[in-house]
Symmetry: C2
Subunit: 196 residues, 2 copies
């Protein structure tokens, strides 16, 4: 019976995050209260607080899940087929597309991520480390295949991510939207020249 009960707990936890994400994208995370979330789930606020000790924890859980989805997409690119150069381009393009779909298209959700980035929440730093690690994997694959020639793959990953930040940073994407250049391909080509 314990397993069933644990499953239920896990479902409730997930339901809270689902409803929170929906409300955040409709009315914004700052205006969404624990009472709003509880009402949607037909439970008491006290019950929500059994799972999250504060509203800030719900904010983090929603943001973490959004970032984790992006990480999974980029990870799939690293594990997929193709040369390291192709994967590197696809990884950056995936991050751009993923950011654009989730946050540029939905300004309310964007606010959540904007705050997370502005205030350097631990989950943002964790996200950055995860993306560095995936990019390091791709660059290492390139070095093994004699496609890239760099000594420090981890540093190269950080450099490529920094160079491409305007395509992967929700707020910069909005800010740079009216500057047509560099395009993602131009920027990736530049990085590939440096790596080869």
């Amino acid at each position: 019976m314990k397993i069933v009960s644990e499953q239920r707990e896990s479902d409730t936890h997930q339901n809270i995050v689902d409803v929170a994400e929906r409300l955040f994208s409709q009315i914004g995370f700052q205006k969404t209260t624990v009472a709003d979330i509880a009402r949607e789930l037909r439970m008491s606020p006290a019950n929500v607080y059994r799972f999250f000790s504060a509203k800030a924890e719900i904010n983090e859980a929603v943001a973490r899940r959004l970032l984790a989805q992006m990480e999974a997409e980029v990870d799939a690119v690293a594990r997929g087929k193709g040369s390291a150069g192709e994967k590197l381009r696809e990884a950056i393009a995936t991050l751009e597309k993923s950011n654009a779909q989730r946050f540029v298209a939905n300004r309310k959700l964007h606010e959540l991520l904007e705050t997370a980035f502005n205030e350097s929440w631990p989950i943002v730093q964790e996200h950055s480390r995860t993306l560095n690690s995936v990019m390091t994997t791709i660059i290492s694959q390139g070095v093994e295949a004699d496609e890239f020639h760099v000594k420090d793959c981890q540093l190269a990953a950080i450099l490529v991510r920094s160079a491409c930040i305007r395509f992967c940073h929700p707020r910069l994407m909005v800010e740079c939207a009216q500057e047509p250049e560099p395009t993602l391909d131009q920027m990736v080509d530049f990085c590939l020249v440096a790596l080869r």
Copy 2:
């Protein structure tokens, strides 16, 4: 007599911008009113409006002058001595230092630039074009000296500026402050590999 009078007009214009900059850095540009500026100059608000038709124009004039100072510093690097690689590094370092001194150290002035960048004021776009042009000059010097090998110097300038944005963008500098890598030298080295 006309020359004296024009000189006086120009002095008054300059005094308004001086006082506005001082007040902006003390109490922030949003809280500073035209009345505050007029009071400091012992003139009537109506007299200030002879020179600037709206407070927004004073904001722009202060921001434009701050950006122009940075542009002049970078331009001096381009006109100075040294290899193109050295100049490119110095130009980025100058932008970083200049931003740090002016805006990261003074959060009130930072607000003005932050708003100008967020809202893409025309002066910010003009500033971007000016910096692109100075970087294009440096890269062209490198191509002439057979130090760099790129076909399109203007595109290369845009790419280098994009790659180094975390060192030159007031808000990103604050946001990236706790991420030690890449350092400015590492990022410039990466760009130089791509240019050579």
